[in-house]
């Protein structure tokens, strides 16, 4: 199956798992939200174009399935998917904590983005400590879920990635003996 096919299947499975199970189990009063994690990791593995496309599709699916305002999740997830894809294309971070940090960043962008859009749409809710607490807790809880989610997304897309960063690193190590041409020289 192609990368897009796998991303589509993974997106549908994660969104229904989120709606049917994960949203029903609060952790410290907030819910784990797997959708931004899925989008950010797809972008990180597949690049900015697939990241943005998957962000739009997952957002649309979430908004349709939950009867939310159409377009809000799509807009935020598109930007998250594109941003993580660009991160891969420009920096290709390989540190072990990258998924955790990127997952936390995506969750923060998602929660703050939602808040901004909702304020702009006129939802009557002033910024309060309770709201900030919910956002911070949401980021913390999602960060914990980021590592297993990263493993799942990576496993599901393994072999179908346009250019697997691991494969590229292995190839580089093989051709340069693990060193950059500059240091070799």
């Amino acid at each position: 199956m192609s990368a897009l096919g796998r991303v589509a299947a993974l997106g549908v499975a994660v969104v229904f798992f989120q709606i049917g199970a994960v949203s029903e189990v609060p952790v410290f009063g907030v819910n784990v939200d797997l959708s931004p994690l899925l989008v950010v990791f797809v972008g990180l593995l597949c690049g900015s174009m697939i990241g943005a496309l998957s962000g739009f599709a997952v957002g649309l699916l979430v908004d349709l399935a939950l009867l939310q305002t159409l377009g809000v999740s799509s807009l935020i997830f598109t930007l998250i998917g594109y941003w993580s894809g660009r991160l891969r294309e420009l920096r290709d971070p390989q540190a072990a904590l990258t998924p955790l940090l990127v997952g936390a960043g995506a969750t923060a962008v998602s929660l703050v983005g939602y808040s901004l859009v909702e304020f702009m749409l006129g939802v009557d809710a002033p910024v309060s400590l309770e709201l900030l607490r919910q956002i911070v807790l949401g980021v913390v809880v999602n960060s914990v879920a980021a590592l297993p989610m990263w493993a799942i997304v990576r496993r599901a897309l393994e072999g179908a990635l346009p250019e697997d960063p691991r494969r590229r690193r292995r190839r580089r190590a093989y051709t340069t003996g693990g060193l950059s041409p500059l240091s070799r020289g």
Partner: protein, 317 residues
């Protein structure tokens, strides 16, 4: 080649962002009966069986995680419940006598009262819940084919859950009492003073009983119930006496009193609920019908503007 890739990437991003903004604008601007809302309802009808299946298949997983959380809270809850049982036992004795007197008074003065008997409860399973703190809604597996209509009250064994916001043929969306569009006319325990219960702004899991007279008194732990008042311009959608929550504290500001209310229903762990549907022509059905015909934002729209919120409260309570 590089330029072409960059151009294509940027064009895709711009296209998707513009598409999202168009969707958002069109959806926000249209009435609940509009085309995009219709597409959403049709989608819900299609995916409702899948959601239902996923919900049943994932119940063991959900229960496992829920039971871990419950174990942490069990001891505190047990002690609290023991105190509550002894208090309620004392209260029951006095309430039985009051109930008898109340019935006699009702008969005597022919008070027009909306009873639960006028409703036909339809049991439904919660099949989906929004993870966002901005959308206090759940999806249920019963819709118009089971007699569910927009604005029908939704309850469970713990108390008031919310009201039906949108209906598809085999599914419906329920606005929880913590949703920013909700407003329920209510009273504290045995008092006759009524106010409006609304979500506490900035605290998505708490409620606030507002518009109370300055001299209102309430003690912590007292129950807040639906008022079910029937009077010109103040008709309630909800049957009287349904528990909404318990008083946690009071606030007094500029001559107005408001009461912080802790919801009775565990809105994070909803499984089975009952939709109180009403027969055609009955008072509850007429009330729900009137509310459904109100312009967008005053009845059941999830996109109520701040200025419309009070109108929604008056009509929805």
């Amino acid at each position: 080649m590089y330029d072409k890739t960059v151009r294509r990437r940027r064009a895709l991003l711009i296209l998707l962002v513009v598409l999202s903004l168009l969707l958002l604008t069109a959806y926000f601007g249209e009435a609940p009966s509009g085309r995009l809302h219709g597409v959403q309802r049709a989608f819900l009808t299609v995916v409702s069986p899948i959601q239902d299946g996923a919900n049943k298949a994932l119940k063991p997983v959900r229960d496992l995680f829920a039971s871990i959380g419950d174990t942490f809270n069990a001891k505190g809850q047990r002690n609290e419940l023991r105190k509550q049982v002894s208090r309620l036992r004392r209260q029951l004795v006095s309430d039985q006598a009051e109930k008898r007197t109340y019935r006699e008074l009702l008969a005597l003065y022919h008070v027009d009262q909306l009873g639960v008997g006028e409703y036909h409860p339809v049991t439904a399973t919660v099949v989906g819940k929004s993870p966002s703190i901005w959308y206090a809604t759940v999806n249920i597996d019963k819709g118009s084919s089971s007699g569910v209509r927009v604005n029908d009250p939704v309850v469970n064994d713990e108390g008031l859950v919310g009201k039906v916001a949108q209906v598809a043929s085999d599914a419906a969306q329920v606005d929880l009492i913590t949703d920013s569009t909700m407003g329920v006319s209510a009273r504290i325990g045995s008092s006759r003073i009524t106010g409006v219960v609304q979500p506490k702004l900035g605290a998505p899991n708490d409620l606030l009983l507002q518009y109370l007279p300055a001299n209102t008194q309430a003690t912590g732990g007292e129950y807040v119930v639906t008022s079910g008042t029937i009077a010109a311009g103040d008709e309630s959608l909800y049957p009287p006496g349904i528990v909404i929550g318990q008083v946690s504290s009071m606030n007094e500001e500029g001559g107005y009193t408001s009461v912080n209310v802790r919801p009775a229903v565990n809105l994070h762990n909803l499984d089975v609920v009952q939709v109180l549907t009403a027969a055609r022509g009955s008072r509850p059905a007429r009330l729900a019908g009137t509310l459904a015909t109100l312009p967008s934002g005053q009845g059941s729209s999830s996109t109520t503007a701040p200025g419309e919120q009070l109108a929604s409260t008056g009509a929805g309570g």
